[in-house]
């Protein structure tokens, strides 16, 4: 009995260590999105340039698509940009852009320089729409199903691996569900 009691603190300590150990492996910057399973909040943003279509929440109806939060100031957006361009070139999935907190014209200039993978881009200069989406940083990408419901949030750049292992299977599954 006494020996059993003596083991209690040791077991407790090991349990705590295990719990904290698991906590260490998790990235606190990756917040679970509260908007998963909810429809895209309504918004209607102006275009970033006359020749690039503007973006409103109505765009997300009728097809599986991605909503990508970017900015000309965002360095890791450059990392995923070639991946997005290649997806757009292949017609893998429509990608919509949210130009987050950019100076007027800066987003358009950035797209002119690096290429434009977006079907349409909304100019969220004030960051208000990003707040409604629960954006915590750029780049962030939402996978939205044909009913306009947010199904997944990718925090950080989309690499080839992320696309192949996470996003592509999800897009395929969502397409199968909606048809």
């Amino acid at each position: 009995m006494n020996r059993l009691l003596a083991a209690v603190p040791v077991i407790g300590l090991l349990g705590l260590a295990a719990m904290l150990g698991v906590g260490l492996t998790q990235d606190p910057q990756k917040l679970p999105s509260t908007l998963i399973g909810q429809t895209v909040p309504p918004f209607d943003l102006p275009p970033i340039a006359p020749d690039i279509p503007a973006l409103a929440h109505t765009a997300f109806q009728g097809q599986v698509s991605l909503l990508n939060v970017f900015g000309s100031w965002c360095t890791s957006c450059l990392v995923e940009h070639p991946v997005l361009l290649s997806l757009a070139r292949r017609g893998a999935v429509p990608i919509y852009g949210l130009d987050w907190k950019d100076e007027p014209g800066a987003g358009a200039a950035w797209l002119a320089r690096h290429g434009n993978p977006y079907t349409a881009v909304g100019d969220d200069a004030s960051g208000r729409v990003a707040l409604d989406l629960g954006v915590t940083g750029a780049p962030e990408t939402y996978v939205i199903d044909a009913a306009g419901i947010i199904r997944h949030k990718q925090i950080g750049p989309i690499t080839d691996t992320v696309w192949r292992e996470t996003l592509e299977p999800l897009v395929t599954r969502l397409r199968a569900n909606s048809s």
């Binding site: 606190p28 907190k101 940083g137």
Partner: protein, 182 residues
């Protein structure tokens, strides 16, 4: 050691202004609401909300652009007539309970709230058990046979140390003999 202490004390007048200056906030003048009552509520709310970029700061403290956006949002909602609760719920709806620096009591935060109290209770209980078992050992009465043996040893002892000249010495040697006595 002392010279170091004196030198440290000499620094105090220089540090004093820093200690006396009121805490500085990240809030910039153009963000402030003109209505002082609303502004006061905005500040109170801002101090309860966590900045999701610099995660250990409140949005009131943080210089991150996103924190600024959230401060403006809080003020916008207040100006639109929301209650404090409604403003906080609005932000939580978008960013989750994580933004609350004081998380609500619910099943998945139960451990967080009850954990420290539980640890304290376990500690007190453990100490109680320890005290009780220790006392029990102390007051355990001797059996008759043990009493008899004890008396025998004491008698033997007394007889042996009696010839010693001083009482203090007798006690010391008594202790010694008891140890060596088979």
């Amino acid at each position: 050691m002392t010279t170091r202490a004196i030198r440290a004390a000499g620094l105090l007048p220089w540090l004093l202004p820093a200690l006396l200056t009121p805490r500085l906030w990240a809030v910039t003048p153009e963000e402030l609401l003109s209505d002082p009552a609303l502004e006061h509520r905005a500040r109170e709310i801002s101090q309860e909300l966590r900045c999701v970029v610099c995660q250990n700061q409140t949005i009131d403290d943080s210089d991150a652009p996103l924190a600024r956006d959230l401060r403006l949002l809080v003020r916008e909602r207040l100006a639109a007539g929301d209650s404090d609760r409604e403003v906080i719920d609005y932000v939580v709806e978008r960013y989750g309970n994580f933004v609350l620096l004081k998380p609500p009591l619910q099943t998945n935060t139960l451990l967080l709230w009850v954990g420290p109290l539980a640890c304290l209770a376990i500690g007190i209980a453990g100490y109680g058990v320890y005290l009780r078992t220790r006392r029990r050992e102390e007051v355990a009465p001797l059996t008759l046979a043990e009493e008899a043996r004890l008396a025998e040893i004491l008698d033997l002892d007394r007889a042996r140390v009696q010839p010693a000249p001083a009482r203090e010495i007798s006690q010391q040697t008594g202790a010694d003999t008891r140890k060596t006595d088979p």
